[in-house]
């Protein structure tokens, strides 16, 4: 058979394959580029960028758990100005669709970051982080209230120019299809899901939470079956009809995990925590998806999306 075609259509862009990095787990780009060929990726999502630099939370910021980890980094980042000066020129050197993950405390901050970056050629699109569980103001409060989700999406969309806007959903809600609908109503070009699940680990000797922030976001293989389930629900109940693609993530370590997300309804997948253990994990997911398509005689990987049988 001819080689499978791994390219996909994603929010108006043609991407060479469906494998992305997940925000916050791959640096700004150069850190990961030291360990893998970043230009082999379909897409790259940066660490969350805020209008002003953020120092982030006190340490410990992470703790490992069975089949996962909790993080409470607190959106530590260099801020918009330094990002533009130091990182955008680096990003321009790689041949992959770079989505800037945008975060803020107020809608104005989201708008300011997006507007300023909307003219940058090196940036392919935006991912709106309205779901970070580790900051006190903004973040998760936007992401759990459907009215707020719609308003912020609509407002940011206006300044994103021609670039696609992806909205990252939090799983820490009663019904994720409600926030998914709200994001689409606000004009989202894609949904990314899921962010981490709020969790806690306790040091029983000191009777204190291990993390300085007390709680953190659970990621890794532990959340994969929940994330697959949520992608499948949003795809069937909302995204498929609306024609909006999903970037699926949560615990992906290999091509088999990635294939589950695609079958559940994701158009593309992102590798997060697994890059910490194998910095070239995205590459092996890509190689494995290629082999999977050959094995199943799938000519175009885009035909795999949402093929879950009843």
């Amino acid at each position: 058979m001819t080689e499978p075609n791994l390219s996909i259509e994603f929010a108006g862009l043609t991407l060479k394959n469906p494998v992305f990095t997940a925000s916050g787990t791959c640096g700004y780009i150069d850190e990961l580029a030291a360990f893998m060929d970043v230009s082999a990726l379909g897409g790259f999502t940066t660490k969350s960028i805020t209008l002003y630099p953020r120092k982030g939370n006190f340490t410990p910021r992470i703790v490992e758990t069975d089949a996962g980890m909790l993080n409470a980094i607190g959106l530590a980042n260099i801020g918009l100005d330094r990002f533009l000066r130091e990182k955008v020129p680096l990003i321009a050197q790689y041949d992959t669709a770079v989505f800037v993950n945008v975060a803020g405390r107020t809608i104005d901050e989201y708008v300011a970051v997006t507007e300023r970056l909307s003219q940058e050629k090196a940036i392919a699109g935006f991912e709106l982080n309205i779901s970070c569980p580790n900051v006190k103001k903004g973040g998760i409060t936007f992401g759990t209230d459907p009215q707020q989700v719609e308003t912020i999406t609509q407002t940011v969309k206006k300044v994103a120019g021609a670039k696609p806007l992806m909205v990252k959903l939090t799983p820490t809600v009663t019904d994720i299809t409600v926030t998914a609908r709200a994001a689409i109503a606000g004009g989202a070009d894609a949904l990314s899901m899921v962010n981490t699940f709020t969790a806690m680990v306790i040091d029983i000797e000191a009777r204190r939470p291990i993390l300085a922030n007390r709680t953190g976001g659970l990621s890794g293989p532990a959340i994969k079956p929940i994330a697959v389930y949520l992608v499948q629900r949003v795809y069937r109940e909302v995204a498929k009809l609306a024609g909006i693609p999903i970037l699926g993530m949560g615990g992906i370590r290999n091509a088999s995990d990635a294939a589950e997300f695609l079958i559940a309804g994701a158009t593309a997948v992102a590798v997060g925590t697994a890059s910490f253990i194998r910095p070239d994990c995205c590459q092996s997911v890509l190689d494995g998806l290629h082999d999977y398509c050959r094995r199943h005689k799938i000519a175009n990987i885009r035909d795999l999306t949402g093929t879950l049988q009843d």
Partner: protein
């Protein structure tokens, strides 16, 4: 056709050559690096580290797990763990590295099962090691507990690369059971550590409980021996690695007597390569509005200039 794999030269395999029990909870693991790893180690410095993936290793039987670790060590692991090296040697065109480790949790308990011939996946060498300050030829090395391995490596490195320097080592541990080296005797029957005496570095030892060496904290001994003597502070430097309270004391002592110091720091690390921002260390930063900013232990450290680190 497969997608081209841009394999990094710093992700490689190492084979176990020796594995020895030093104390009940301390072991010495000798690894032979493959060709890729050996190339990556060509210009390694003491204080740098490797990230070891113990995930694929199995657990020992319950009877071989320290009782107080039975609950915590048996959970599943996912992340790599950082370890520095206590020695590195050429073996033909390959490198051999020694890792001394303390059995404290799920990864290190799994490491105890390794036997010669087993292989491990490593990333490294990572981070910035000690920067040898040629203008300060009086080198005072201070180690506390599991901070000893890079200090042992540094002692050997200074002796072979800077033979004119005056190197002295001070090593502290909680008790005899927590001394991570072999103990030997010199011809006069005095107690020595071959790890230091074999490279000609005079050394002194403290234990908190007095079960071995001088009773007390290692920084107290350094202060007692150094400060009164004829001591050219502008020619001296302290190189230290150990638990944070010890590093705090070293940094205070350095400030008090007016000498430079370099500190090898530790943080919980999820990645070790600058991807996750988990390993933040508070440092002085004149450029920052409030005078401080975080640096990453894994990328900017683990060795930092003592005057830059802020201990709260």
């Amino acid at each position: 056709m497969k997608h081209r794999s841009a394999q990094s030269s710093r992700i490689f395999t190492a084979v176990v050559r020796q594995h020895r029990i030093i104390r009940p909870r301390y072991r010495l693991l000798t690894l032979e690096l493959d060709a890729k790893g050996s190339a990556a180690f060509a210009s390694v410095m003491p204080g740098q580290f490797v990230e070891i993936d113990a995930g694929p290793l199995s657990l020992p039987q319950d009877k071989d797990i320290p009782a107080e670790l039975l609950d915590s060590a048996k959970r599943n692991i996912m992340l790599r763990r950082p370890f520095s090296f206590s020695a590195i040697r050429h073996k033909g065109n390959k490198f051999e590295i020694d890792i001394s480790y303390h059995v404290v949790g799920p990864s290190t308990v799994r490491l105890t099962t390794l036997v010669p011939g087993d292989s491990l996946n490593l990333i490294g060498p990572l981070g910035n090691g000690f920067r040898i300050d040629q203008s300060r030829p009086i080198a005072v090395l201070i180690a506390g507990g599991m901070g000893a391995p890079p200090i042992q490596h540094l002692a050997a490195h200074l002796k072979s690369h800077h033979p004119d320097m005056r190197v002295t080592a001070f090593i502290g541990a909680r008790s005899l059971d927590e001394i991570p080296f072999d103990i030997g005797t010199d011809p006069d029957g005095g107690i020595i550590f071959p790890a230091f005496s074999s490279v000609g570095v005079p050394h002194a030892m403290t234990t908190d409980d007095g079960s071995f060496g001088v009773k007390g904290f290692v920084t107290q001994l350094v202060e007692k021996l150094l400060v009164p003597g004829p001591f050219q502070t502008d020619k001296a430097i302290l190189y230290a690695c150990g638990p944070e309270p010890m590093l705090t004391a070293v940094s205070r002592l350095a400030a008090k007597i007016g000498v430079h110091c370099q500190l090898s720091m530790e943080r919980m690390m999820a990645c070790g390569i600058g991807l996750c921002q988990s390993c933040a260390i508070k440092t002085r930063d004149p450029q920052a509005e409030d005078g401080w900013s975080y640096r990453l232990c894994c990328k900017d450290g683990p060795v930092l200039d003592g005057k830059d680190v802020i201990f709260d």
